[in-house]
Each structure stands twice: as structure tokens, then as C-alpha cells.
């Protein structure tokens, strides 16, 4: 069960009661419910702050997986223009990836997005946002097209990770992910990547290498799912909550580590509480990043991207450890 959905229940009940009271007061203007409504609204606001004011890593994991969370399609729908381009030209069109050309606030862009479904039927079609090799290969084809036509690349990341299935291994998902990452490290157009929900493992990174990495406030970006991590390290999946905390997978943690560039605030209660606001905020931030990058010579953009990735991760010399006596 999603812990955020659980915690929302009380809120939704209150919302319902406030709504009922409001329509009652409209039907009976003679009776005054002003005080009652006010009291409930105060209670609602304080409960909301209590629940959402300071989410733990584990709660953010569930926020990122919230069934009502806006999908990539919500952001794509807000572009000025979008023409979806299908297919890897070899095997299949993967519905877990939406790719195409369009305009973001007037700017020409190539869009590459990972798309989860909203209901069971769409999730089966979209493979729950788990990209198959042909989805990465579609993305790779479009990255090359973006380079050919000097279209900056904008990505939306929302996947629990690569597909753990037979077909994905048979058709070489390792190679497919590797080629996307390689291409993004030196594609000669600006790349702005945004994590909007779950950014899981290599599957996310295939769309997550760029000049600016933006995360929604409650999105996560992680080497592995907390459950997977706990299973590996503690041999105990129930330690997932502890793993989530240790993995430093929240936007705040990753900004502090210097790995991501921007955090886009979500409405109190999460992106799904005000999709329009969330979408507009992220698009504004993406547009800003594109403007900064487009003003630079592309050689410099690619060089700075190289330097950035080249310097991720620090180390010490053997003798430093010896001196400090650390073991």
C-alpha cells in the first residue's frame, strides 16, 4: 500500500466534509456555516502541513509512485506543439517511451519521455513505464535526429527501472541503455533532463545524463529501488524504509551532493494536488535552462558536460587513509 495514499485519506475525508458543508450553505443561505467551515479549513491546513510539511525519504518514494501523480503526458500536453515520432526502426514501438519533436515555450525541442500508465490497461500497454530495449533504441534514434537538426533535448524520467524480463535480456537491454548514456554524454545539443516521478537505476540514467538535471520536489533518483537495495544488503526487503533513508535519493539530498542542479517545488500535498501548477513550474524551469544553454556555443556546453560527469565521485589516496587511521 502506498503510504501517501494512506495518509491522504484523512485529508480527503475533511475535504469532502468541507465541500458538503459549502454546498449545504449555498442551498440554505439562511443558516450560517461560516464558523464550522472555517474551523474545518484550519484543521485541514494544519493536518496538511503535519502530513506533508516534512516528508521522509520513504514517504517521498511513495509520493514519487503515487497513482495520481502527473505522468509525462501531462507535461507534454502543456507544450505549444508536439508531434510524436514512433519506433526504433527495427523491432517494435515501445509505448513506455514517448518521443517526438515540439516547442516548449516557443523553443524547438526533441522530447524523450518515460511514460507510466494511469490504470491497469494503460499500465500493461506502457509496461508500467519500464522501458524495453526497443524503447531505448527509439530514444537513441531520436537523440541522433536531435543532433542532426540542432534540437535541444528535453527528457522526462519516470520509471522504476529497466524491465526484469526475458525478452528485455534477449534483445540486449544492457547494450541499449549503454548506447543511450554514451550518446547523451557527447550529443552536440543541450540536454535538460527532468525527474518527475521515479528515477530508478540504469533505466532512468539512460534518459538522465545532461547539462541540467532538474527534479520535482518529491521525485526520487536512485541507484536501485529501496526494496531491491534492502534485499541485497540486508537480505531483508522490509528494511526498505531504512534503505530509502540511507540511499540519499531525494531531490534535496542529491542537490546537497551536487549531483542535480535544480529542484522545482510541488504544491503542498504533492504534484497531483495541482497538476497545472506543477507542470507550469517545471516547464518554466526547463525553458530557463534551455535559454542559458542555447546562449552558449555548443562546444562549450559539451565540454562543460564532460567536465561535470568526469568529476562526479571523489576518492582518497591509500596513504591518506593510513594517516587518518580509518579502516
Amino acid at each position: 500500500m502506498n503510504v501517501i495514499v494512506e495518509r491522504e485519506k484523512g485529508l480527503l475525508e475533511l475535504e469532502q466534509r468541507i465541500g458538503d458543508l459549502k454546498s449545504l450553505s449555498e442551498q440554505h443561505p439562511e443558516a450560517s456555516f461560516v464558523n464550522e467551515i472555517h474551523a474545518l479549513e484550519e484543521k485541514y491546513a494544519s493536518l496538511q502541513r503535519e502530513i506533508f510539511g516534512n516528508l521522509t525519504a520513504w514517504q517521498k518514494v511513495h509520493m514519487a509512485r503515487h497513482p495520481m501523480r502527473p505522468r509525462a503526458t501531462a507535461f507534454i500536453a502543456a507544450l505549444d506543439e508536439f508531434v510524436e515520432l514512433h519506433g526504433d526502426r527495427a523491432f517494435r514501438d515501445d509505448a513506455a517511451v514517448i518521443g517526438g519533436i515540439g516547442r516548449l515555450g516557443g523553443r524547438r525541442v526533441m522530447v524523450l519521455a518515460q511514460q507510466k500508465g494511469r490504470d491497469t490497461k494503460e499500465n500493461v500497454w506502457r509496461n508500467f513505464g519500464m522501458v524495453h530495449p526497443e524503447g531505448y533504441r527509439k530514444a537513441l534514434r531520436l537523440m541522433r535526429m536531435a543532433e542532426k537538426f540542432a534540437l535541444p533535448i528535453v527528457t522526462y524520467i519516470d520509471t522504476s527501472g529497466a524491465d526484469p524480463g526475458i525478452g528485455a535480456e534477449e534483445r540486449g537491454q544492457s547494450e541499449a541503455i549503454a548506447r543511450c548514456i554514451l550518446q547523451l554524454t557527447n550529443v552536440r545539443v543541450p540536454v535538460v533532463a527532468s525527474v518527475i516521478g521515479e528515477g530508478g537505476s540504469g533505466g532512468a540514467l539512460a534518459f538522465g545524463v545532461g547539462d541540467r538535471i532538474i527534479m520535482l520536489e518529491h521525485a526520487i533518483f536512485s541507484i536501485a529501488s529501496p526494496e531491491g537495495c534492502a534485499a541485497i544488503l540486508w537480505k531483508d526487503a522490509s528494511k526498505a524504509e531504512e534503505a530509502a533513508a540511507r540511499l540519499k535519493l531525494t531531490a534535496g539530498d542529491l542537490k546537497a551532493l551536487g549531483i542535480i542542479d535544480e529542484i522545482v517545488a510541488e504544491p503542498l500535498g504533492g504534484a497531483h494536488r495541482d497538476v497545472e501548477y506543477t507542470v507550469a513550474s517545471l516547464l518554466r524551469e526547463q525553458g530557463r535552462a534551455l535559454d542559458v544553454l542555447s546562449a552558449l556555443p555548443i562546444e562549450r556546453v559539451v565540454e562543460e558536460r564532460y567536465a561535470k560527469y568526469r568529476h562526479i565521485g571523489s576518492w582518497q589516496r591509500e596513504n591518506e587513509r593510513m594517516v587518518r587511521g580509518a579502516t
Binding site: 540511499l247 562526479i312 576518492w315 591509500e318
Partner: protein, 286 residues
């Protein structure tokens, strides 16, 4: 076996402590093998040709003509996430240094192979399951950059459980770091050969391993992105025998060739001699 540098000899002595038993049981054919014979046979079972997992140091000794000039030998991980699970990350690292005789999961450097100068990095599964953190990423990246600078081909022998959990997203991003560095070698049109050894999975298989010009796999090596257990749990059925093996890779078009460990050095030399227009050879020492 070819001679190794003092450095390697020193490391090797360290290693000799690691498993004191004289006899080893082959997991494939159950034959009891005398450890000394097994090592002389490049850790290949003389009865069934099972390829045992090979420590980086033995691998280097089996491939390089003579001296091996290690780069970034003394790099060690920091603990960026202050990680603790059942142990702290520094505790785990210390234990693995002791156990494996190497100070990280990859050894990288330069030497010659049949007289051809090459950059060579070898991953060591006995250190943290060959996982990639910042130090592995750094050494692989340095190997690519430095090979490009020296205008020599690069060879990487992989053996890895993927990105290292204890370094979190920093470890995952080493996939991008190593890929970025690889573009330097590619721009110089120098060959990069990857030798997939058992096992190679996760973030290593999904980055520099499968970006190679030529991909060689050791017989029966298990190579894939998702682990076998994870897939079986997800699809709720047993995977067929041979799934994700070297032979599976060949059938599905993901590897160029399977090479027995005894032929590996000769095969690498042959490929390099053909790929390099005028192979920069030194006087062969092998």
C-alpha cells in the same frame, strides 16, 4: 606464465594467503583439482574446461608481456553517504582489501601484449563483487583518457555485480563518467575491446562493457543487466538453462566471439594487429 612486475609479485604474495587449501573442487564437474595445477592452467578446470573466476592480478599476469605500469593504484573510496547496513562501508572495504589483495575492484594500467602497447583494466569480482563506485569509475575513465593520449588501444576485462549500492547515485553516475571518457578514445578511432567474464551485470554491463568495438566473452560467463533471481521473482518462473550465458549472448547477437582463456591473449593480439593500421609494436617480450 609471463613475468610480472615487482608490484604484481608483491600483490600476488598477499593473495597466496587468501585460500590456504591445497585442493579445490570444480563446481561444474566436481573433480578435485590441485590448486597449484589449477593456477598454472589459468584457473581453468583441466577436466571440463570450467573457467573459474580470476583475480585481476592473475588476469593481468596472463595477458601482459612483462611490466605492467599501474595507474591510480592508490585510489580508495571515500564514504560519501556515511553508509551503514550490517557493517559500515569502510569496514566492508577493509575486509575486502584483506580478502582480495587488491585495494579496489579494478586494476588499471599500461603494458604490452605481444609487443603491442595497450591500456588494460581488469575488474576483480573478489573485491565487493566487482561493483563500481567512484574509484572504479575513475580508473576506467583514466584508462580511456590516457589510452587516447598515448594513442594505444584499450582493453577492459569486466566482472561486476553492477553499481555499488554503498555509494548510491554517485555509483550509478559512474556509468556516465566512464562513457564520457570513452568518447575520447572513440574520437581518436582507437580500438576498445571488452572481455566479458563471469559475472558481468547491472551498471557495468549497461555502460562501458557493451560500448566496446569488439566484445569477447569467456565460455559460459553469465552476462546481463538484471540478475537471474530478480527476473525469476518477477516473472514467477524458472529461467531456462543457459540464459544470460556467453553462448546466449552470441545467439542473440550481443557478443562478437567466445574465447577460451588459454587463447585469449593470442586472440586479442590478432584482433589488434588487424584493427591497427600499423600496429605500434615494441619488441615482443612474451
Amino acid at each position: 606464465m609471463p613475468s610480472v612486475t615487482d608490484w604484481l609479485r608483491g600483490r600476488k604474495r598477499q593473495l597466496e594467503r587468501r585460500e590456504p587449501g591445497l585442493w579445490v573442487k570444480c563446481p561444474e564437474c566436481s573433480e578435485m583439482l590441485y590448486r597449484k595445477d589449477l593456477e598454472l592452467n589459468l584457473l581453468v578446470c583441466a577436466h571440463c574446461s570450467h573457467h573459474f573466476r580470476m583475480p585481476a592480478i592473475d588476469r593481468i599476469a596472463s595477458l601482459i608481456d612483462g611490466e605492467f605500469h599501474e595507474i591510480a593504484a592508490d585510489l580508495e573510496p571515500r564514504d560519501p553517504l556515511n553508509w551503514t547496513d550490517v557493517k559500515t562501508y569502510p569496514q566492508k572495504l577493509a575486509a575486502d582489501r584483506e580478502k582480495s589483495g587488491v585495494i579496489e575492484a579494478v586494476v588499471a594500467g599500461f603494458g604490452s601484449m605481444g609487443g603491442i602497447d595497450v591500456g588494460l583494466a581488469v575488474m576483480d569480482f573478489f573485491f565487493r563483487g566487482g561493483t563500481m563506485g567512484a574509484v572504479v569509475g575513475e580508473k576506467i575513465a583514466l584508462l580511456f583518457e590516457e589510452s587516447a593520449r598515448r594513442a594505444v588501444p584499450a582493453i577492459v576485462c569486466t566482472a561486476s555485480g553492477g553499481a555499488r549500492m554503498e555509494e548510491g547515485l554517485i555509483a550509478l553516475l559512474q556509468m556516465a563518467k566512464t562513457s564520457a571518457a570513452l568518447t575520447r578514445l572513440q574520437a581518436a578511432r582507437l580500438p576498445y575491446i571488452c572481455v566479458l567474464t563471469d559475472p558481468t551485470t547491472g551498471g557495468v554491463s549497461a555502460s562501458f562493457a557493451f560500448d566496446a568495438d569488439i566484445i569477447i566473452a569467456e565460455p559460459k560467463a553469465v552476462v546481463g543487466f538484471a540478475g537471474r533471481r530478480v527476473i525469476e521473482q518477477t516473472i514467477r518462473q524458472r529461467l531456462p538453462d543457459g540464459f544470460q550465458t556467453a553462448e546466449f549472448l552470441i545467439e542473440h547477437g550481443h557478443a562478437d566471439l567466445i574465447v577460451d582463456r588459454h587463447q585469449l591473449k593470442a586472440q586479442l593480439i590478432q584482433v589488434l594487429e588487424i584493427l591497427l593500421p600499423g600496429a605500434r609494436r615494441r619488441e615482443a617480450l612474451a
